[in-house]
Symmetry: C2
Subunit: 349 residues, 2 copies
DNA sequence: GACACGTGAGGACACGTGTCCGCGTCAAGC
DNA sequence: GCTTGACGCGGACACGTGTCCTCACGTGTC
């Protein structure tokens, strides 16, 4: 409060101790909460800190060997809502456990430099969120393993050597197909869902499995027009896809989209062609973003269970700290949850 | 590549120098790119770094007095899309200028602790993004000023002592009203827009100004039902507000919403009451989020010009570094931009 | 053979902190 | 008056790095 005109900020405990009129060691003991100090002394230091705004130099503190209590978080970007929701949840959990987060965005081709930055900051673990060039990530994980730095990869495919937490997308699509079949649908348009990615946890695997269960032949019951348009996985991609489907004679009655944006685009495309949703066509998204409740009709989607994903993820990564390196990669899967809304709430035809 | 079985990671240049077979000082000179070294020596060090994954301890480097090149970014939350977009843009700019960002979310009541954390990390400046408890923020800014640490507050009202970059919301609403008046609208419903905030740059100020320009008496031409519902500034708030408006005999033909979520909720509420948009009612949002292009009809909104805001913001904050403290707070304003879409693209019925 | 020059070794110090240790000082209790 | 604690002082060392300095070694040149 006393402004003090502050000639210049105090930058060391020595200087600060002179200001308070105590020995540097005494001040240090106050700051670290050691016993054997008079309440009066403690209060003098507290007051002086408020007056001067002095803070111990974190770099010197960490240097002396105290744990850095820092976790590196490596993001693909900060643009997709789901990625950011994961980041927010993650930072909240770490903060609750007294860890500081070091958040960085990875530009493809610079992963090596970024990891080196994390290591130079002596992070105790690294979390990867988003999708990265797989060969680059595999390489970095191998280096981290050799280096003994714990890690976890959140929901990324094709990184067999990594500890990871992955959403069971197959399970999600099984629920979607079950739901639509129960509503009477027998023909399905696939929007942006292709076979070339993922393994047993992949979407396509779930769709095939579910159709087989209902004795519906995959080849006859599904249709994809992805090859007709530039794949951007966004609203516009969904809209043009749907426009193409709308021109078909025997078009599917249900449409499964890779994500919510494509699904919403598809709804626009279908509606623009005069097709009623859900009366004449059902549409499903994936990710269950807030936006799903704001469309007309509201959009049935699959929720990623982000909170639980992050909870498990932090568990996986924190359990490695201070332990000998694991030989076998950890794999935890998360069950998504189908959220049914208006866009699938009618029987076809 | 060579795995090397890595007994344990190398943690100091001394140890590393022994590994390479050079003197510590020589290694240090290589790492800092000093002249007078044989290419062969440099290459030996590079190779050893690749083999061992050794990285210099950042805490020791910074301790020796080298600038920390770190900027603290204080966020309200990581949930709203606009806040996150600002964060992403900010980090990108700082990275391009070789600054590291320290990103933290501020929980109300803990601002003092957070700022102390930033200061202990010896950040060279602090950026605030989002809305905070004003008295708390005013206090923190005063402390930063006394401490000599540069700062900038992005788009926050009621912080007169801070350097800040603020969106001219009045300008945005003037453009909105001009547009709607040109389309023939004369009566306006206000959704979540109240007078109790902001000054000359506030929305209400712009609305009043614009209506006056068109000789439309404010009291007769505008209507607010905010008091009827719990103010949450979200989709549901907009929906219920619109439902209330729909029951009015002489309801307005145009609706100005505080943000996009309310606007979209309002569109749902009006449409549910059988009112056609834009034929029977026009709706405008604010922020121009991606979602505006995904609704039916697409939503006219006001773009925050985030890129420019951040560009100016970094300019303001970086210009303070290494300079004597400014006595007068800097204030830069940003002109928003009206994006016209379907939701206002008709003359009232 | 003397000299300059290029290259690297190795010692020294500083940065700000935590912690240990021995030594004063002061007050209370006998 | 003496002992005994409680409390604080001040010296010392370590942490890993950058930088400066002196010194040694080798090579090429005159």
């Amino acid at each position: 409060m006393k402004k003090k005109s502050s000639a210049r900020a105090i930058t060391s405990t020595a200087e600060f101790a002179r200001y308070v009129g105590l020995a540097r060691t005494t001040v240090s003991r106050v700051l670290n909460g050691q016993p054997g100090l008079k309440p009066n002394t403690i209060e003098r230091v507290q007051r002086a800190m408020d007056e001067t705004g002095f803070t111990p130099n974190a770099y010197a503190v960490r240097l002396k060997g105290k744990s850095t209590a820092t976790i590196g978080i490596c993001m693909e970007d900060l643009l997709t809502p789901t990625a950011v929701k994961k980041l927010a949840a993650l930072q909240r959990v770490f903060r609750g456990r007294q860890y500081t987060s070091l958040i960085e965005v990875l530009e493809p081709g610079h992963s090596r430099r970024l990891i080196r930055h994390f290591l130079s900051m002596r992070v105790e673990a690294i979390v990867f969120i988003g999708h990265f060039p797989p060969d680059e990530l595999v390489q970095r994980i191998a280096e981290l393993n050799a280096h003994g730095t714990p890690h976890v990869v959140i929901d990324h495919v094709g990184i067999p050597n990594a500890h990871r937490v992955t959403l069971d997308r197959a399970r999600g699509m099984i629920d979607v197909v079950d739901h639509l079949v129960a509503r009477g649908h027998r023909s399905f348009g696939l929007l942006g869902i292709s076979a070339w990615l993922h393994g047993k946890l992949g979407r396509m695997h779930g769709i095939i499995q579910a159709l087989a269960k209902h004795k519906l032949p995959f080849a006859q019951c599904t249709r994809s027009l992805d090859h007709l348009h530039v794949r951007e996985n966004d609203f516009e991609f969904g809209r043009t896809l749907a426009a193409s489907f709308a021109t078909l004679k025997d078009r599917p009655t249900a449409y499964l989209a890779l994500n919510d944006e494509i699904a919403i685009g598809a709804m626009h495309g279908l509606q623009a062609a005069g097709i009623d949703i859900p009366g004449e066509a059902a549409v499903t998204g994936f990710n269950n973003q807030e936006i799903c409740a704001m469309t007309r009709p509201t959009l049935t989607s699959v929720d990623q269970q982000i909170e639980e994903t992050i909870r498990i993820g932090t568990e996986v990564v924190l359990s490695q700290i201070g332990q000998p390196p694991r030989v076998k990669p950890i794999l935890r899967t998360i069950e998504p949850k189908l959220i049914i809304r208006q866009s699938t709430d009618a029987r076809p035809g």
